[in-house]
């Protein structure tokens, strides 16, 4: 019963946030509200016991996309364009489409139903086999990295391709002459530092802990919620935080863009390389059992460790490099920008 109340409250808040996003004119507030929306969605996933998905939603939706959206706003104006015409026809079209979608949901299984076709097709099989074949407590990781290893490889390649595309688009834009309003790139002087002394100290305290937590999420993914996707995001967040507070030059010295671009590809190579290694050892592509012929579940552990590492490295590389191109476009923040 309490689940029902929580669902009602969360859905009501999500609808209110969505309406606020539509009505809002300031893009900054819209970005913040979409972060709130993602956080509410993450809570909904927790109510549904999908903790891994909730973790991803909170890290990606509420965390890194908010930062990247703010980076985009820094490049453009922060007000929405005035709507030129607001006719009655679009409202009718949207209304009919919405009614059609509501009508479509009538045939769907009940919200969160355990006997939905999506739950009944392969899941019982995976749940039963994980214990003997893979022997790790977190079934989500077993499914993600082993049973559906091809799908996850596809996802990593998609993330990689999207990252490359963003890099190409933004670095092509960089060829154009900089507009006059672009701030001049100069190292922060001592006087500028004093105003965010607190932020600098706090960042120094936190960056190491955030990276440590990312490694925990990465390597503890077999036992608890988390894995490569979440860990990659968290590592990226550590570097973005460092870059935001200490400036572009400092973060470039820590992790140069050259290295990040290589890391971007390294993760995909590790993933596919694991598959090729299993083939070389005489198994099928991504059939980790061959890593330990006498104890296939140990081989599964090795394989899952390797591909999760690949996922994490690529995700971190893509996120950091996207942040790098954004920050290169806007230039370092001056003190008056705070």
């Amino acid at each position: 019963m309490s689940t029902l109340y929580m669902n009602i409250v969360l859905f009501a808040m999500m609808i209110a946030t969505a309406i606020a996003i539509v009505r809002m004119n300031k893009l900054f507030a819209v970005v913040m509200l979409s972060g709130v929306f993602s956080l509410l969605a993450a809570m909904l996933f927790i109510v549904l016991d999908a903790v891994d998905v909730a973790f991803t939603e909170a890290a990606v939706g509420a965390g890194i996309s908010t930062v990247l959206m703010l980076g985009t706003i820094a490049l453009i104006r922060d007000n929405e364009n005035k709507t030129v015409r607001a006719g009655i026809l679009p409202l009718i079209v949207v209304g009919i489409t919405g009614l059609g979608m509501v009508y479509g949901t009538l045939d769907l299984p009940a919200f969160g139903a355990a006997d939905a076709p999506a739950q009944m097709y392969l899941k019982p099989d995976y749940m039963a086999r994980t214990v003997s074949e893979i022997d790790i407590p977190n079934v989500v990781t077993a499914i993600l990295a082993s049973y559906r290893g091809y799908d996850t490889m596809g996802e990593v390649v998609v993330v990689f391709t999207a990252g490359i595309a963003v890099l190409l688009l933004l670095s092509a834009l960089q060829q154009r002459p900089a507009p006059a309003t672009t701030p001049i790139k100069k190292p922060a002087t001592q006087a500028n530092w004093q105003n965010h002394l607190i932020l600098r100290v706090v960042t120094k305290m936190l960056v190491g802990l955030i990276i440590l937590y990312a490694f925990y999420v990465q390597f503890h993914g077999d036992f608890s919620p988390g894995g490569g996707f979440q860990a990659g995001i968290i590592i990226a967040v550590a570097f973005i935080l460092y870059g935001l507070v200490f400036g572009q030059n400092a973060v470039y010295q820590t992790l140069s863009p050259w290295v990040v671009h290589k890391i971007l590809a390294l993760g995909v190579l590790i993933y596919i390389g694991t598959g090729l290694a299993t083939m070389a050892l005489g198994g099928a592509f991504l059939d980790y059992g061959v890593f330990a012929p006498h104890h296939p579940s140990h081989g599964q552990h090795w394989g899952i460790l390797a591909v999760e590492l690949g996922v994490g490295i690529t995700v971190a590389g893509v996120m950091i490099s996207i942040y790098y191109v954004f920050s290169a476009r806007t230039g370092p923040l001056r003190d008056t920008d705070w």
Binding site: A191, H196, I198, V202, M205, D335, T336, W338
Partner: protein
């Protein structure tokens, strides 16, 4: 008996934390200017989060989850006030429209004078 005491203590903490957070939210909605709103949220959130986490830790007992709650508490205790500081500092440097309502005129004048010194 001991269990009952722990249970009562943890619920007192949790309800207290929820109350603090609620009061902070009222402050955010009802206070007049940016600085008072900031103050209401910052203080009540830090205190409320601490009470809530303490209550949850009592519920959990001496297990790994308690350690995680302590770590979350430390993290919130560092990041919450820092975030408030960053927002308030940004508003101060950018010149929030509520500046003239601020109580401590001296700080405001000093900051704005600093800003004038530096060529932007």
């Amino acid at each position: 008996m001991w269990d009952l005491i722990i249970d009562i203590a943890s619920w007192v903490l949790i309800i207290g934390g929820a109350g603090f957070t609620l009061i902070g939210t009222f402050g955010l909605l009802r206070f007049g200017d940016f600085w008072s709103r900031m103050h209401a949220v910052s203080v009540c959130e830090s205190g409320g989060a601490f009470l809530l986490l303490a209550g949850m830790a009592l519920q959990a007992g001496f297990v790994l989850v308690t350690l995680k709650l302590v770590v979350i508490g430390v993290f919130l205790f560092i990041t919450g006030p820092s975030a408030t500081h960053a927002i308030a500092n940004a508003a101060l440097v950018r010149g929030s429209p509520d500046l003239k309502n601020a109580v401590d005129k001296k700080i405001v004048n000093k900051k704005t004078a600093n800003k004038k010194d530096k060529p932007a």
